[in-house]
Amino acid sequence: MASFFTAVNINKSFHLHPVLKDVSFSLATGETVLLFGRNGSGKTTLLRILAGIMRPERGTAYLNGSILFTADSRWRRDVVYLGHQPNLYPAFTARENLMLSVRLRGQTWDEETFQTLLSGYGLAGREEEPIRVYSEGMLQRLGLVRLELASWRLALLDEPSAALDVDGTQTLSDALTRWHSQGRTVFFTSHDLGWGAARAERALLLSGGTISREAPVSTESDLVSYISEEE
């Protein structure tokens, strides 16, 4: 498959401690790829750099041949990010938060789509409540609704199944399948390797600050053995 996204030699340190060391990899169009590794291996840092939230010390990335991390913000139109937290304002209602998100992306608000998505993610009737009253799982669902409302080609998801119940995890799995069929690329992390292995076509192991292994996903035990071999 042709490379849709390429990261080249990405480096990042915190307090002189290198977290990412020349991280390079590629993603193909429509591919769903799992990034896994131990706690503190730099998965979140890598996703935040690719989303434009953090700045790499060295290295760059290309999306369809266009260079990222430039002052021109247009490249971020094709990329969405959902972190450990939903990246929304607690004092705002679900509707206000999502309207803000849509407006920031230069899109137009579609009430019908909003209502359909709310129902799909089990949040129907809760759109006028300030989200500070939401549970962790509800916040995660709302974060996913934010993603669904945006138009994007690459989604960067950090532990998207965390805090979700069985229903929520199933809805997320369905969304991943739908996005894959739409030719959208998803790069996600998960500590639930069983769930991650079932969703991804390929897995990248981040260890020692670099992508130390790149392999097609088969089972959870394969992924666990990869981590063990790195020790």
Partner: protein, 222 residues
């Protein structure tokens, strides 16, 4: 400008919803004013010359409090990442946040400034137009500098401690200018005697607003 307007309205709505910044800023300003009133009560006439300075020191710390709250909101649920990952100019984020903060600071002063007249005999009505001009220009400059430094510190673990430490040396010339201009205006001196201080305020505002718009992209990322 559409993005700056969206951010401005967002901050305004958040404040109307929570009233966290404005109430904290007004209460703090009122409490410090009352404290000064008790402190200078023994010899009010002797301290009259210091009142404009006390007023601007009060509003400096009030501004720090407001900035901490304004950017503190962005940290909850990592909401700031929504702004940073959006396909918008970071300069527009800076302008929107600075404009909203300017409005909060101005509103705080409209509510708390009469206390300086009431408890410290500050002749607020001696030159109301001049005083209003000085306040607006100083607030614009404080908002321009403060938003830039607060944005820079947002991702720093010690950001809340660093904000006043970094802000005071940067704002010292502005606070001196505001104090001197306020003293001169309230003493009824003609504008030509203190217009230099106004020019300093305008220069401060233009320089930092420009710098903030241009470099916010670099300083807002971790």
């Amino acid at each position: 400008m559409a993005t700056a307007w969206t951010i401005f309205l967002k901050d305004l709505r958040l404040e109307l919803r929570t009233r966290e910044s404005l109430s904290a800023m007004v209460i703090f300003a009122a409490a410090v004013t009352l404290l000064f009133a008790f402190a200078v009560n023994a010899a009010p006439a002797r301290f009259q010359a210091f009142i404009p300075g006390l007023m601007w020191m009060t509003y400096f710390f009030t501004a720090v409090l407001g900035l901490l709250r304004s950017f503190g909101r962005e940290k909850e649920l990592d909401a700031y990442s929504l702004l940073l990952s959006a396909p918008v100019s970071r300069g527009a984020i800076y302008l929107g946040k600075a404009a909203a903060f300017f409005l909060f600071l101005l509103a705080t002063q409209m509510i708390s400034l009469p206390l300086f007249g009431l408890f410290l005999n500050m002749p607020l009505l001696a030159a109301p137009a001049s005083l209003a001009l000085i306040i607006v220009l100083t607030d614009l400059a404080i908002a321009a500098v403060g938003t830039l430094i607060a944005g820079m510190n947002l991702r720093s673990p010690a950001g809340e401690t660093l904000l006043p430490v970094l802000l005071f040396p940067l704002l010292a010339p502005l606070l001196i200018a505001a104090t001197r201009a306020t003293s001169a205006a309230l003493a009824g001196r003609p504008l030509r005697e203190w217009d230099l201080w106004l020019m300093l305020m305008v220069t401060f505002f233009i320089l930092f607003a420009l710098a903030g718009t241009l470099i916010f992209d670099h300083i807002s990322e971790q």
